[in-house]
Amino acid sequence: MVLATLAFLIALVPLLSILYQTIANGYSALNIDFFTQITPPIGGAGGGIINAIEGSLVMVGIASLIGIPIGLFTGAYLYEYPGRLANNLRLVGEVLTGVPSIVTGIVVYVVIVATLHHFSALSGGIALSFMMIPIVAISTHESLKLVPSSIKEGGLALGVSRPKTLIYILVSTAKSGIVTGIAISVARIMGETAPLLFTALGNQFMMNSIYDPAESMTVLIYDYGTSPYPTAHAFAWGAALILLLLVLGLNMVVRVASRLKPTTPI
């Protein structure tokens, strides 16, 4: 019993260490320029990460535009038409959530980047959407399954059509679970790096359109963090602090709003 408690406390050590290191090292990198200027060359002084913030937000936006509706509809299908097909689709979806994100990056490189002949924010967003679809589908399916069947049957018994029952009764009852799932999937893809390496590449300047290569906070952390220059390290810590604030902040808000109810591990 002591061992089990100890195991829990051991797991908290890296969490606290990561939070402490990121805040302590990242805080000093923050200033007005950090949020308004584009990135300096690696090792250079001054500048900011506005292009990386722009790239991350644009790509997460593209991924959400594609991934949320498809994921939602897929989750609704799994719930609404149970059977052998739905079971198999769900199994493949679950297996897809375990496919390494670097593989997703390579696949989108072949399908989109090699076809269009250039790296772009669009292909980065599509790579992220590939990761998002199964996550949103499974969490939506889980949330819908929690709705008592009596509520659904009540709607159908009153002569409400199936689509209307689904939209006005089921989805609106399961709303908070579905929203939590979506928010957590957005937080997840915001922190993804590997799918962007070969799709969005990186960009030292602001984008003109979504067909341009895009910088992102995660790729910036990787490039600057693995360089030998201390000034670049400070930059990476600063970006990591902003990224952690966004990702953990989003997680905390939705989890606290749902009263810390545990979510399906995906």
Binding site: Y81, L89, V99, V111
Partner: protein, 324 residues
Amino acid sequence: MQTQVENTRARQRARRPDFLHTILIVTAFAIPVIATLCLYALINGSLDSLQAFGFGFLTSSQWIPNPPNGGPPILGALPAMYGSVVTTAIALLFAVPISLGIALFQSELAPRKLRLPSIFLVELLAAVPSVVYGLWGILFLVPFMSNYVDPGLLGSLGFLPIFQGETNGLGMLTAGVILAIMIIPYGAAVMREVVTAVPRAQREACIALGGTKWETMRMAVIPYASTGIIAAVVLAMGRAIGETMAVTMVIGNVARITPSLFVPAETIPSVIANEFTEVAGNGVYLAALFELALILFAIAFVMNLIGRLLITRLAFHGKVSHNV
């Protein structure tokens, strides 16, 4: 008359194409489409390499993309596979007992008020992006390992071949430790769901026989949940093998096979992350990276399939609600 009209209406409604069904099933096919795209792109991309190296790719330990004599590249996947296996093994060594401990703490031991907050904290650990683990790894954990842990192991267990050689913090041991930290929350969450699903009666029977809390866990809960716990380990293994960024940042990226855990090495995903953008029009070299990705995809796919099927089988027998 009235009923006749209504019957006709009902029949018409039944014959009308079900728009809801059509829309939902078309979108739901996004999932098999993505899976097929993955297979197609990876196999198509690795054709050159499959042709050039055949099965030798899996057994050759040479990785020379640009031979000095200008000959064709000599490429084998063994160093990367070796690194993946060793780092994953180290990660599981630490992560399995700790995850199980966390799962038991959260489901059996924690006071009611601490249960949800403790789950929340572990979920936060899972939410930290991989590249932030990597940054923490390279700028904090690597110096920490090289200053304290590695010299300590060298001094006390240095007679073992796995703890010999130069230590600069970059290597398989550090990668394994960071992987362990990253898969603990996932393993713990799946194990918690499995352990929570053990019926009350199972526990009460053991308590009624005079079992202590520890005996109940050891003799009633863990054996009952064993299949699910194995499934959780397999799923966590799949995660560890595919983890890219954090490992790439701390493993040092050198293609070689040595028993020492201290020296720089590489894993399948770290090779891809490192070298993919550097390949310039080199057909076989690029194809070899695709083949590595294909191997990785196959391993992760099989691991996840086994893990999921084990859990689904449990669900079928009514042990676990089908939501892990």
